[in-house]
Symmetry: C2
Subunit: 343 residues, 2 copies
């Protein structure tokens, strides 16, 4: 069966009406609101075809039609017009960001809040990922007799630090030697290399500091990776309770449960590779997202992908708006992060 232009218009009408109303769309509605020149009967015939082709489905006889995942997919890829985001919102993202200078962490949280406010869905955002870069430099700073602050600077300019509390005192000169030892061995390593980093070698040339090295190095590595996975933020979870699909308390609870699993959210965002990607319903790998759509985009520092953000909503999502918001957001994020780190 071939996909005439009228079928396409009808599919579009069904999807856009359903996005707004969350109610099955009938032939009369389409005839009255969208294709005024065409009678309901004709539209019914076309709808029957569209159903055979798998683009729409019927919840039950005598109900209207709702789009299927396949229908949304076609809509996103071929039918919808891009860029529904208005100038005011675009401006808002820009302005809000200029105001929210300060530390990267704050910027990221703010981005999350803004995303959920603008889309009225739930947003997830990951902080710039150390894992995506390599170590440029490590500094160890003596805070107290047995307390050391480790500062790691990555080649993207991200700074991570962690407090290390040692079992024994450490002398300033010992710390200096250890620091340069660590820098010798570890600077320039990327994530895979660090993960399988063997510091036996270091212990052998430890000049008597082996005990301290044994404490410092694993702790250093562990804290780095931990801090990465833990830095996932979300916002606007309460928004989804406005949607009729979540008026079933069980679905709402399932959703909330997912949003409390940071590890899971991290995994989702960490898998993102494309610039902007849309996963509709069952296209999602995660069982828990089979009834959601997920729009993700990556952001960059110095043109190197370093993190990603996402919007989670129902499959009847305002795709064009959500996509352009996410896109606009990551562009701004990339720009600001790059400029912050250049300063």
């Amino acid at each position: 069966m071939d996909m005439g232009n009228r079928k396409r218009l009808i599919l579009q009408a069904i999807i856009e009406d359903y996005i707004n109303s969350a109610e099955p769309v009938g032939s009369r509605t389409i005839s009255k609101k969208y294709l005024t020149g065409t009678s309901p009967a004709t539209i019914r015939n076309e709808m029957s075809d569209l159903e055979d082709m798998g683009y729409i489905e019927q919840p039950h006889t005598s109900a209207g039609r709702i789009p299927s995942d396949k229908g949304y997919r076609l809509y996103v890829d071929k039918i919808m017009k891009q860029d529904k985001i208005n100038e005011a919102q675009r401006e808002m993202i820009k302005r809000e960001f200029v105001e929210s200078l300060g530390e990267i962490d704050r910027l990221i949280k703010h981005a999350s809040k803004l995303l959920s406010q603008l889309t009225q869905y739930t947003s997830i955002v990951m902080a710039p990922q150390f894992r995506r870069t390599s170590i440029k430099q490590v500094q160890l700073l003596r805070i107290d007799r047995a307390v050391v602050l480790a500062v790691i600077v990555t080649n993207a300019g991200i700074i991570k630090n962690s407090v290390l509390r040692l079992k024994q005192d450490i002398q300033p000169d010992a710390l200096i030697r250890i620091t340069s030892m660590i820098n010798d061995k570890m600077a320039g390593l990327d994530v895979e290399e660090i993960e399988k980093f063997d510091f036996q070698d270091m212990l052998n040339n430890s000049l008597g500091h082996s005990e301290i090295i044994e404490q410092v190095v694993p702790e250093l590595i562990q804290t780095l990776f931990y801090s990465d996975t833990s830095e996932v933020y979300h916002d606007g979870v309460s928004n989804i309770l406005n949607l009729p699909e979540y008026s079933d308390i069980n679905k709402a609870r399932d959703f909330l449960n997912i949003m409390e699993e940071r590890e899971l959210l991290f995994k989702v965002l960490n898998d993102v590779r494309e610039d902007v990607s849309v996963s509709i319903g069952k296209e999602n790998k995660l069982e828990q997202f089979k009834e959601c759509s997920l729009i993700t985009a990556t952001y960059k520092i110095n043109n190197k992908v370093i993190g990603s953000v996402g919007i989670i909503g129902p499959t009847r999502m305002e795709y064009s708006k959500a996509i352009s918001v996410v896109e606009c957001m990551t562009n701004n994020l990339s720009e600001i992060l790059t400029s912050i780190l250049k300063r």
Copy 2:
């Protein structure tokens, strides 16, 4: 009217049955399950008295009775027996904590998760508060030409740090001089003093570094306070959707909204002064908590109150269990934090 022992037993029966069932409790139920020797009619008379005294109320004629806030209050203060937490759970808190060494931050998040898991309510936890201590020492570390890491050590041993990105380069020797200047002026100050700290004086003796000082000091102060208020964690929000009182989607949404307002949660926890405190229903200052109960407790480092944790649940909360979990948790937290910082 006087509060005989039987009235007390009946009130206890009503409260404990209602805590479990969330259904109004009738005289027959009490007669059968709690006071087997007494007839429903007698219990009805007593209940009528209890209602007059304001300890219980009736949702409508021909329904059973439910406890009022005042009833819960009496129950918590006078009737309930302490310490329902079992040894296994007590052990769990202890064991889990020993395993979760590592950084304070992680410990705090873990505490939050544990609290909500053990109680099946929602937990909120604040990280150790810088505001509750004073500055012991400030160190500025040069990361890059115009990037400085500020490390503040408080007299409780908490370490906070923030990355400062300056408009111009800074030389190592200038940094050293500025550092000692800042330490001279700011070390020993507590929160009120820092909040109204006037660095005009410093600018006058700036030895030509005034521009840098103008950037560094306000940023330092701001970041410190910001990092404090932002470090509030919560967990188990989805638990409340298991409760029948939140089967109304609107209530659930209101609750979620509150839990996304970190500032608000911070304020709640920051107001806590007592060791363990229970606020029941309308006793809460916050409008949004008028239908909840809030159990909070403080934790200490070196016997100085430095933060607090809380459990939020419905007014028909398992008070005795929640109280003992919270108590046990803060005790462990205090102990571990103190020992970590002593190491």
